[in-house]
Symmetry: C2
């Protein structure tokens, strides 16, 4: 199955069965995603009635296409799906994206029967199926948007994969990711997981997907959690895995049953299992994005000693509180670093840690010298760098972006907070974020929290390598 | 002092002592704030050397201005401040905004002496002074931006006042507030609080400022916390007060000493005192904004029973988890509401609570009927309404905005989550947010959390009214 997943996610051609010119049909939006997403492979709209869809001649059926088809995206109504899937098998497609809903997740028992039927057909042809009941997938590395949301083509390309049990979560996380400049490799919802679930995806992302460095999972409930946990263990010491578990409450549990057909299960058992499998657990979409971004681009946080450098004292204090709340501590600078700070900052500033770099607003070079000294200091493990826009310091982030251009990546994690009104600093932040070992978060509180996540993730990795040495 | 504060925040004329044409001087940015902020009063730049600043003839000294001056903004270097303040007294100004830093907050003991000296002068003339060591203030109700950050004039006008011990926090919170369409009345940093501190501001905001309905405080440390707590008690049963305390750790404590000259103090004592004074405590800038927005515009949350309606099941489950995490519970719909939901949604959707309104994407009217029924249901106390953008449902939020136009305000709090890529739904969200008893937050997790804050704030208010009846 797994070798087929590689082909499924990098198709040379895609057929959209149920492609449409009508805005009210999901087949309209899937066609829009493929065409406007600038997909470089062949696109075959399939619709017995339409002549052309988005300027491409449509075919009355999959069988009527003469060229080979790698992936079929199915958007026809549920009762038509079995015959359609059979056609896919006969056409020898490599994989299927089944957007259609109305199977195991519905109250009506017909849904369960229908899902069993399509399961049989998929087995017969050894067809990997993403879905049913999915919005599709996006592979930003390969440049294909096989989903009903064209806007996902705007996602920055990067090292983070999101595998979700919910399409809605992909939309939540995907749009927040755009705002936070998170670099995405793949984004997908597994829906009802006919035959492609978390274990298969983990195996694929760990072994076959070089672009993916951090794997994020959104889980509601699973019939066999052990498979996922076992698959995750294969990543230990290598790719980071982050999980967000919902359906923590009893009510959530029953909602999960009806959403994608699995009970959520006891949350406390999940928590322990995540820890054991070396999976970093997060408790919000925002925390997931912050942690994934930092793990993707920053050096590991090998110790708890954090330096906080801030252009304004208040946000520096808030970040310092955040560092301690995350179980880490504020570094005590070496004599050398203290000397540099005392030389560069007047005695009106707080020069211990957090450092108030306010007086260096007009002298960006001093800020960078303090940043460099803090990163190089043997008494620090990571650095938080904060600047609030204030009109007078408008040049600060631009100078930093120029100063960092082509520089050696930071050898310790640097988490930056740059807060400004919309339209200000945006290009400069985009240039800095994710480059050279620096990751940007939106608030000082979240800077402290993400340091805690970096530390936990590094502990998982260290433990894995010790266990590796012991042959455990 | 307090009657003077009203004049200070609504000045008919402002002099900027230290106004400048040079970008490197804060006097440049203060002039920019006043002029570009479209201030309707008179502006008098004071600078012995400049002829014109932003097209306005400058005066060599405050005394050289013939017309009366209500407020003087001082941006000259610290050693010149005593003489300048004396001039302000002689000119009979109503109040002073002292942006200049270098007083009690610096390591050098000269700072302490200088602060004592200006304290004496201010007392002599009974001059209320915001600062020193402040970025200034913004009064969006009156339309004056007397700060060094012109961009604060972009803040939406509304019922929330922010009084901060840190200018940096005002910038953090102010820019987040712009993103979240928070309506602001006043925004200010008190800096070193020469003679205007939290108690004076609370008294002013509670008694003299009709535009302010919610008061938010950012506190690092105070010499006399009791005064603040006593002043806060005057608001009980009336305006809501929200506080964010930083400097919770030992390190933070010492940073506070050097930032605005006061020790932060034991955090646990603060927590208890906030509760006793009926002040809602928050632990991040984001939580502060969410809570303040909802308290400003929503009906009170009088009970714990929350309905979650979501266009996508996953985010609905996340909000449901958030509701339970906040100590509240998921409502069980009345028979009447269940009947409406079952009539409007097909059996493929989750129709209990959380409700999956996915099938109603193309039929906005059904969504609104379910929303209305949920608000009117005797078994609910508040409603969370969620929609993730997905191309096919692009019209949903626009329809909701049209449907809500001129409608009666919701009688229970409605917290909405609308997540979309930048540029999509923005106008529609702006039209909905803050109107008709509905407040928007950016994620389903934060929707659950803000319901918890609404519930706590209502409990404070109920307790206050019971105490009032008992004459306590």
């Amino acid at each position: 199955m797994n070798s087929k997943l590689k082909e499924l996610f990098c198709p040379r051609s895609v057929a959209v069965i149920g492609a449409s010119n009508s805005f009210d049909k999901l087949g309209y939006h899937v066609m829009k995603s493929l065409v406007e997403g600038n997909y470089q492979g062949r696109i075959f709209p399939v619709n017995p009635k339409a002549g052309e869809i988005r300027g491409i001649t449509s075919h009355p059926s999959l069988g009527a296409i003469e060229e080979p088809v790698d992936v079929a995206v199915i958007v026809v109504p549920a009762p038509l799906v079995p015959a359609t899937l059979d056609e896919c098998g006969k056409k020898n497609v490599k994989g299927v994206v089944m957007i259609t809903a109305g199977f195991r997740e519905i109250e009506d028992s017909k849904g369960e029967a229908l899902q069993e039927e399509i399961g049989r057909i998929a087995r017969q042809y050894r067809l990997p199926v993403i879905g049913p009941n999915t919005f599709g997938f996006v592979n930003r590395t390969f440049g294909v948007n096989a989903s009903f949301t064209p806007e996902f083509s705007r996602l920055k390309s990067g090292g983070i994969a999101l595998v979700s049990q919910s399409g809605g979560f992909c939309h939540l996380c995907g749009f927040l990711a755009m705002d936070q400049r998170m670099g995405v490799s793949k984004l997908m919802s597994l829906g009802n997981r006919l035959n492609v679930g978390f274990p298969e995806l983990l195996k694929h992302l760990i072994e076959e997907d070089e672009a993916t460095r951090v794997i994020t999972l959104y889980i509601e409930g699973l019939d066999n959690p052990r498979e996922l946990l076992e698959a995750a263990k294969a990543a230990r010491g290598g790719k980071h895995i982050i999980a967000y578990k919902s359906g923590k409450s009893e009510k959530g549990d029953s909602a999960s049953k009806f959403h994608t057909g699995s009970l959520a299960g006891d949350y406390q058992i999940w928590r322990g299992a995540f820890r054991q499998a070396g999976i970093l657990e997060v408790s919000s979409a925002e925390q997931m994005i912050d942690a994934a971004k930092a793990l993707d681009v920053c050096a590991p946080l090998k110790g708890p000693r954090i330096a906080v450098l801030s252009g304004q004292a208040g946000p520096g204090m808030i970040a310092a509180d955040g560092v301690e709340k995350a179980g880490l501590k504020l570094a005590r600078f070496s004599a050398k670093t203290s000397e540099i700070i005392n030389r560069l900052l007047p005695p009106i500033a707080i020069r211990s840690n957090p450092v108030d770099m306010g007086p260096a607003w007009y002298d960006a070079k001093s800020s960078f010298e303090i940043l460099r000294a803090s990163v190089e200091d043997e008494n620090t493990d990571g650095v938080i760098f904060i600047a609030m826009f204030a009109s007078a310091n408008v040049a600060l982030v631009k100078s930093l972006a120029e100063y960092r251009k082509g520089a050696e990546p930071f050898k310790k994690p640097v988490i930056a907070v740059f807060t400004a009104p919309r339209g200000i600093w945006e290009e400069e932040i985009a240039a800095l974020d994710g480059a050279g070992g620096l990751s940007v978060v939106p608030t000082p509180e979240r800077a402290g929290a993400v340091m805690g996540d970096l530390f936990a993730a590094n502990a998982f990795r260290s433990r894995a390598s010790v266990q590796g040495l012991n042959g455990l």
